[in-house]
């Protein structure tokens, strides 16, 4: 472990990626995540076999990542919302070709060019398989500096383990904020399992092909079911959520990333006033931790989804609950970051209106 240091979120992802064995990064400038690209430029130049490329476009960057992943490297690209839209082509191919890669989306206000303020408007794109075709990919939603470090390492592990693209879904605030962080020691890459599918020249073995074209519909269906079974395995193995003060809660706010931090502040403040509120924070957005939410509905009748959007994750909350509890929603889109007081006010009002009691 390194000594604790105060570090910007974007830099944390970069350092954690390097320590997780990332050896190839390609990216394109876009605010508010340029600090990550710049960090990787420096970091890769200090590693003997590290490669950094400032690509001519987001599209080129993700396709370079495809190539590097084919060659067996641990790879990463990053961008912010408009740029991630461009990357969707490549992400679909990564999914189809079962190539491991890490993609970071530091979300900003949208749609269109939008603005550069923190937002959570890309939830659907991230969790539904944002490109064409029938696929999903893992989406991790860190909510603190330390978690950025930890989940970045996890992202690379999942990418290799499941041969899938993994997205780290943050926002402008997660990228810019500084918090104390410690890092694990750099990974010994020689200890990683071999990739018996990678392309490095057919010396002493039959030639290999990594493709996504399957003109034979039976083969394409087979690939789709194979991917589906993989996604089912992932959905069994990795859903994760943090719960905070939910044991005796009568109303639980569900929020991820930056919104969860703000909500936590609101929950703390309301607890001091005697309201039995709690927080459930999905750490994996896909797979969504629906079992935790479903289980919680045995004792909680009211959930409030809070997002920095007009309501996207709330659909997953409803799907998880299947009508077992009331689902409220509060959102602030467009790059607005509400204060804990604002969320506390909303929670308080809904709490009273739902007949859960007032101030003690």
């Amino acid at each position: 472990m390194t000594e604790k240091q105060l570090m910007r979120g974007s830099h944390v992802i970069g350092e954690a990626a390097v320590r997780a064995g990332c050896r190839f990064y390609a990216g394109y400038p876009i605010t508010p995540q340029n600090e990550l690209t710049e960090y990787m430029a420096g970091a890769m130049s200090r590693i003997e076999d590290g490669v950094f490329i400032q690509a001519e476009s987001e599209l080129a960057a993700v396709n370079m990542v495809i190539g590097a992943a084919m060659a067996g490297a641990r790879t990463m690209t990053s961008s912010s919302s408009p740029g991630v839209s461009l990357k969707q082509e490549g992400i679909s191919y990564l999914a189809a070709q079962e190539l491991p890669a890490v993609i970071v989306n530091t979300m900003r206000g949208g749609p269109g060019l939008g603005n550069i303020a923190p937002s959570q408007g890309d939830y659907f794109q991230a969790t539904r398989g944002g490109g064409h075709g029938d696929y999903r990919h893992i989406v991790l939603a860190p909510a603190s500096g330390q978690e950025l470090a930890d989940l970045t390492r996890t992202a690379f592990e999942y990418a290799d383990r499941y041969r899938t693209p993994v997205m780290i879904l943050g926002d402008g605030m997660m990228g810019q904020m500084m918090e104390p962080v410690t890092f694990p020691e750099p990974l010994d890459l020689t200890g990683l399992p071999d990739k018996p599918w990678k392309l490095d020249g057919a010396k002493g073995r039959p030639s290999r092909v990594i493709l996504s074209l399957l003109l034979n519909t039976a083969l394409e269906e087979e690939l789709n079911w194979k991917l589906f079974r993989k996604y089912e395995t992932i959905a069994q193995e990795i859903p994760a959520a943090e719960t905070f003060m939910t044991e005796d809660a009568r109303m639980v706010v569900i929020a991820y990333g930056t919104a969860a931090r703000i909500a936590k502040g609101a929950v703390k403040a309301l607890r001091e006033k005697g309201l039995r509120v709690g927080l459930l924070r999905p750490v994996t957005l896909w797979p969504f931790p629906d079992r935790v939410i479903r289980d919680m509905s045995r004792s909680v009748a009211d959930f409030l989804a809070f997002e920095m959007s007009t309501g996207q994750m709330v659909e997953d909350v409803r799907l998880a609950l299947e009508g077992r509890a009331r689902v409220h929603f509060y959102g602030r889109p467009g790059g607005i970051v509400p204060t804990p007081d604002e969320i506390a006010g909303v929670l308080h009002t809904r709490y009273e209106r739902s007949g859960l009691g007032g101030l003690s």
Binding site: N63, G67, G90, D200, L213
Partner: protein, 249 residues
């Protein structure tokens, strides 16, 4: 005992080509396979096939192959080559793939001087999708999307991508050849060998543009297609060494 004077190249799989009769792709595939064998680099070569008629190139070329999205061959090749600089990496792309949807990736890979080899097959038409206008379709040439012929004011001029790439700082060897006659086939093979040698010596971006026949979509017999290349296409796309900073290697 009979002497064997002709055989299947080592790096060509025993599959029957899906290409139409008279198509240039099968000739060019064979030339690539022969060159990889003669340069003894087949076991350390990774190819990147395109989207287009040659999308199934991996069914024929017996080397590691990684499929790129339409037009992104140069970017995918960049990723592979940068991670494995001692391997030989080539893309195989048609005119629509490289000179329309993939223009940006190609120009920037050339400009960075990526040490890869690009085989650019120019037959002036989108073959796989059924004969639409390509960026390289000649003025007046009919296609399914230029039924009365390509019109300058509506469709623009045919593009000369090789010339464009020649002015980038990172390209070192660019030649345009053809495969419509034995003489031109031999010349193409020499050019391919030089392009791969350029890469083996780490000299930078190399590209061979092969003007190729597409009798099916041109709606011609194979013989007429070859004649049309000689008499018409080559006047707009003359065969020549477009850039050579490599010399004799």
């Amino acid at each position: 005992m009979a002497k064997k004077i002709f055989e299947r190249p080592r790096y060509l799989k025993e599959n029957v080509y899906h290409y139409c009769p008279g198509c240039g792709h099968s000739i060019i595939h064979r030339l690539v396979a022969e060159v990889l064998d003669e340069l003894a680099i087949g076991e350390r070569t990774i190819g990147v096939p395109p989207a287009g008629c040659a999308v199934l190139a991996y069914n024929y070329l017996d080397v590691d192959m990684g499929e790129a999205p339409h037009g992104r061959g140069a970017a995918v090749a960049t990723g592979i080559k940068r991670m494995l600089p001692d391997r030989i990496v080539f893309t195989y792309q048609g005119d629509g793939d490289i000179a329309a949807i993939g223009t940006a990736e190609t120009i920037h890979a050339a400009n960075r001087g990526e040490n890869v080899t690009v085989i650019f097959v120019n037959n002036g038409v989108y073959g796989m999708t059924g004969g639409q206008m390509a960026p390289t379709t000649l003025l007046g040439q009919s296609s399914t999307t230029t039924p009365g012929g390509r019109d300058r004011s509506r469709d623009g001029m045919p593009i000369d991508l090789s010339q464009m790439l020649a002015v980038t700082g990172g390209s070192v060897y660019i030649e345009r050849t053809a495969v419509h006659s034995p003489k031109h086939v031999r010349r193409t093979k020499k050019a391919l060998a030089k392009a791969f040698k350029t890469q083996m010596q780490g000299l930078g971006f190399s590209l061979v543009e092969v003007v190729s026949q597409c009798p099916t979509n041109w709606k011609m017999t194979p013989a007429d297609a070859c004649r049309w290349i000689e008499e018409t296409i080559l006047s707009f796309y003359p065969l020549k060494v477009i850039k050579d900073e490599v010399g004799d290697i």
